[in-house]
């Protein structure tokens, strides 16, 4: 081996075709993102890897020579033998199995100077693949403060790859790193682990059977063979990389190895860690203080037996309050702006179907989409600060016991909690859950949390049907509202439990979690995350929401000239000519009601009646159920329109009165208090919000989960309302 693995490059550096691809790889919390931001600045973009919802961050950087490189910031990983969707992506990119991301020409491996004992494990795995590796040791300043001295030249010698020390906070070492990236780096000639001969023989026999791949170096083929042997046949990407008969043989070989040498899988880990220990021993001049006073001081409070939960509850209260309440002025402002835009368009365009499409379909749909953004932005701000500071792991540590009861991890708590404000930011927040099955379970139960859009509906129905009475020190109204929230939580627990035992069964999830050192958040990258999350939502879910909004507008507006509507319009014209002002207003409300009743949505409401009659709902509620697909609170204005009150949302009192006194065709009372309760139960459990469906589609990357969600939640809602209504009638409450 040559002492320096560096060779001067003589390739044409200005040729964009030779633009070098660099992948940043490292443990979570190794300082990867900080380095990525320092190298690329604002020249980065966020997307998703094809077919999965793992975030792909790419950026550009110009080296001293003028050569431009493309940098991809790979998701934080502990190992190249993957245990989470993030790690699968990393493995696939490095082995050339990820279609939208060619393998890197250089792996920039990031390791924390104070945690080399563990971080070098991934470094050795990366070196073993046979690609050029450059090791960046971050947090050199933190190490020095603690009296930890490292001999980086010795580390370079021990690993066979160039090493550079960084203190990203003061940009120390960045120039040296850029210089190194400008040179051609050879793969390390060293091997750190040899499998026992019987395993090596199996792997060698496999190698020729793996199809040749232009992007995979020879040692990479060896590693792919090893990955195939270690995989338990669950990985679809690996399975596609080789013919099926090889997979069958692998199963036999694996079983034979398990019988003959039960510990064979772990040999590699022990071998690599022995090499890690040797490298650290060579590099460490003084060990210094191994304690971390900041961690000790903060943890003494933040995960204290009593203070930990107290702080957590207060903090969650603040998060909940801000997502729930602080977003209101922003959402109102957006509403106002959308309203201004709508009236501006109304002033410019002549009245007619086209204006109605633009104002009530498109602008309203865009408005719906944008009003979610404040909540998404506020929640991602909190989440990203929690992740960056290290508090997220502490929160999960505190809540893990509670969530484990329903088969989830502590990380599921915050997304579920946020879903009380709105399921959409909540579902987007499930990205912090690394186990795929746990994440899907959390997504599937998040919409059961009673969101803020259900509140106006509960308020209307409770006001109309729940008598004002004190029960102890609370009112019956308050108790009913609490019961609705409780019902949602109970349903979520039951469904999570059931999903984990049926469709989302399997795997042996590990709940091991790192409690990282506390760090100050990097505000620049926090704000970038907030921006990227909001934009991704607008682009991906926004299009579906907009399309659905236009479809709903059409259903509720056409056909617009049924027999009754034509008659009402004639009477309205007559009243206008006669100058009867109050009569005109009354007839306008009546016309809106008639048009809705005669529209496709109105007809659908009647068609729906046989299905919902057993729940106590008539066709008018049916119309409300259809229009509330746009957003649950639309139910209130729809009911007002149906009952000829206009869509005056501020006139809730008369709407309550109207609901209480509404009659059916034969003069009987249409809505009893029992119907009110049945309808609230339905709203608590049903999946009516297509924005949620759109975001689930986006976050799971398939229609399977949103469709299952629709089926599951609506069946459950129907059954529960059926039991409430029919049971209530049997008890004589109807």
């Amino acid at each position: 081996m040559s002492t320096s693995p560096l060779v001067e490059a003589d390739a044409d550096r200005s040729d964009p075709r030779t633009a070098r691809r660099v992948a940043i790889l490292g443990n979570p919390n190794a300082g990867k993102s900080t380095l990525f931001n320092a190298l690329t600045g604002q020249r980065q973009k966020v997307s998703n890897y094809a077919g999965v919802t793992v975030e792909k961050k790419t950026g550009q950087c110009t080296l001293p020579s003028g050569r431009r490189i493309e940098i991809v910031d790979l998701p934080g990983s502990y190992s190249l033998r993957p245990a989470s969707p993030d790690e699968v992506i990393v493995r696939d990119v490095l082995l050339g199995l990820q279609p939208d991301t060619p393998p890197p020409d250089l792996i920039l491996l990031v390791a924390d100077a104070t945690q080399l004992d563990r971080h070098l494990y991934l470094a050795l795995q990366a070196i073993e693949i046979g690609r050029p590796v450059l090791l960046a040791v971050t947090m050199m300043d933190a190490a020095e403060t603690r009296g930890l001295q490292l001999d980086l030249a010795a580390l370079q010698q021990a690993l066979g790859v160039p090493v550079v020390g960084l203190a990203a906070t003061r940009n120390r070492g960045l120039d040296a790193l850029r210089d190194l990236m400008d040179r051609d780096i050879e793969p390390s000639q060293l091997r750190f682990h040899r499998w026992p001969p019987f395993v090596e023989r199996v792997v060698t026999s496999l190698e020729p059977r793996i199809p040749r791949h232009p992007l995979l170096p020879e040692r990479g083929r060896h590693d792919l063979a090893m990955a195939l042997l270690l995989d338990d046949g669950e990985d679809p990407v690996l399975a596609r990389a080789v013919p099926s008969e090889v997979l069958d043989d692998l199963r036999i070989l694996r079983r034979r190895l398990d019988d003959q040498a039960p510990g064979w899988r772990s040999g590699e880990v022990e071998g690599l860690y022995a090499a890690v220990d040797a490298a650290v021993a060579a590099a460490q001049v003084t060990k210094g203080m191994t304690r971390d006073p900041t961690r000790e001081r903060l943890d003494r409070i933040l995960i204290h037996r009593i203070w930990g939960p107290v702080v957590f509850v207060l903090f969650m209260g603040a998060v909940f309050q801000s997502v729930f309440a602080w977003s209101v002025p922003l959402m109102d402002a957006i509403d106002w702006l959308v309203g201004q835009l709508a009236s501006a368009v109304e002033g410019v365009m002549p009245a007619g179907p086209l204006r109605s499409l633009v104002v009530d379909g498109i602008i309203a749909g865009v408005g719906t989409t944008i009003t979610f953004v404040p909540q998404i932005a506020i929640l991602s701000l909190f989440l990203s600060v929690m992740e960056d500071t290290g508090y997220m792991a502490r929160a999960a540590f505190i809540m893990d016991r509670v969530m484990s009861k329903v088969g989830l991890s502590g990380r599921a708590f915050i997304p579920l909690m946020s879903s009380f404000a709105c399921a959409i930011p909540g579902i987007m927040a499930t990205r912090t859950i690394d186990n795929r099955r746990d994440r899907l379970t959390t997504i599937m139960v998040a919409p059961f949390m009673s969101c803020s859009a259900r509140l106006p509906v509960y308020a209307l129905l409770i006001g109309a049907f729940v008598p004002h009475r004190w029960v102890g020190f609370v009112t019956l109204a308050g108790l009913t509202l609490f019961a609705m929230y409780f019902l949602g939580i109970a349903a979520a627990i039951v469904v999570a439990w059931a999903l984990k035992r049926t469709v989302l069964k399997g795997g042996k999830p590990l709940y091991v979690m790192e409690l990282p050192p506390y760090r100050m958040p990097a505000w620049g990258s926090v704000l970038m995350t907030v921006r990227d999350r909001s934009l991704l939502f607008l682009q991906k879910a926004g299009t579906i929401i907009l399309a659905a909004s236009v479809v709903l507008w059409f259903l509720a507006s056409y056909p617009s000239s049924g027999p009754e509507a034509t008659a009402t319009r004639a009477r309205l014209d007559a009243a206008r000519d006669a100058g009867q002002v109050t009569r005109v207003a009354e007839l306008e409300h009546q016309l809106a009601g008639t048009r809705l009743r005669e529209s496709f949505a109105g007809r659908a409401g009647r068609l729906l009646e046989p299905v919902i009659a057993p729940l106590g709902f008539d066709w008018r509620i049916g119309i409300g159920l259809i229009t509330s697909l746009a957003a649950r609170e639309v139910m209130v204005s729809t009911m007002a329109t149906v009952f000829n009150l206009g869509d005056a949302q501020d006139d809730v009192v008369s709407l309550r009165q109207t609901l209480r006194t509404a009659v059916t065709g034969n003069g009987a009372r249409a809505y009893t208090p029992l119907v009110g309760v049945s309808l609230m139960v339905f709203f608590a459990l049903a999946c009516q919000c297509f924005s949620t469906v759109a975001v689930v589609r986006r976050e799971t990357n398939s229609w399977r989960w949103p469709l299952l969600m629709l089926l599951l939640m609506n069946t459950l809602a129907w059954l529960a309302s059926f039991v409430v209504f029919q049971g209530g009638r049997l008890l004589g409450l109807g």
């Binding site: 945690q115 494990y121 899988r265 880990v269 540590f397 893990d400 042996k508 409690l515």
Partner: protein
């Protein structure tokens, strides 16, 4: 099943050997072997719980589970059921 690792004398050979979840906060020990599902054991080792490494119990979560451990300068939280598969020789 006991897919043991780094232990040539078999389980129970060391009378002082104890599962990690039985250690009290403040205690420490040297990892002797890992038992249980081989893939899970492998993953725990990749996270630093390799035989021969020292592990220290830092604290229990407020509700008693999981437990925070310090290993190879890294702090890990393990559920009791997971820690039960890590066998240590107490010091």
């Amino acid at each position: 099943m006991t897919g043991s690792t780094g232990d040539r004398s078999g389980p129970g050979a060391n009378p002082a050997e104890r599962p990690l979840d039985r250690l009290a906060p403040g205690d420490s020990g040297i990892i002797v072997r890992l038992s249980g599902d081989p893939a899970t054991a492998r993953r725990l080792m990749e996270l630093g719980l390799v035989p021969g490494s020292e592990v220290q119990v830092v604290r229990r979560a407020p509700l008693g589970d999981p437990i925070e451990y310090r290993i190879r300068d890294v702090h890990l939280s393990l559920r009791r059921v997971e820690a039960a598969n890590v066998h240590v020789a107490p010091r």
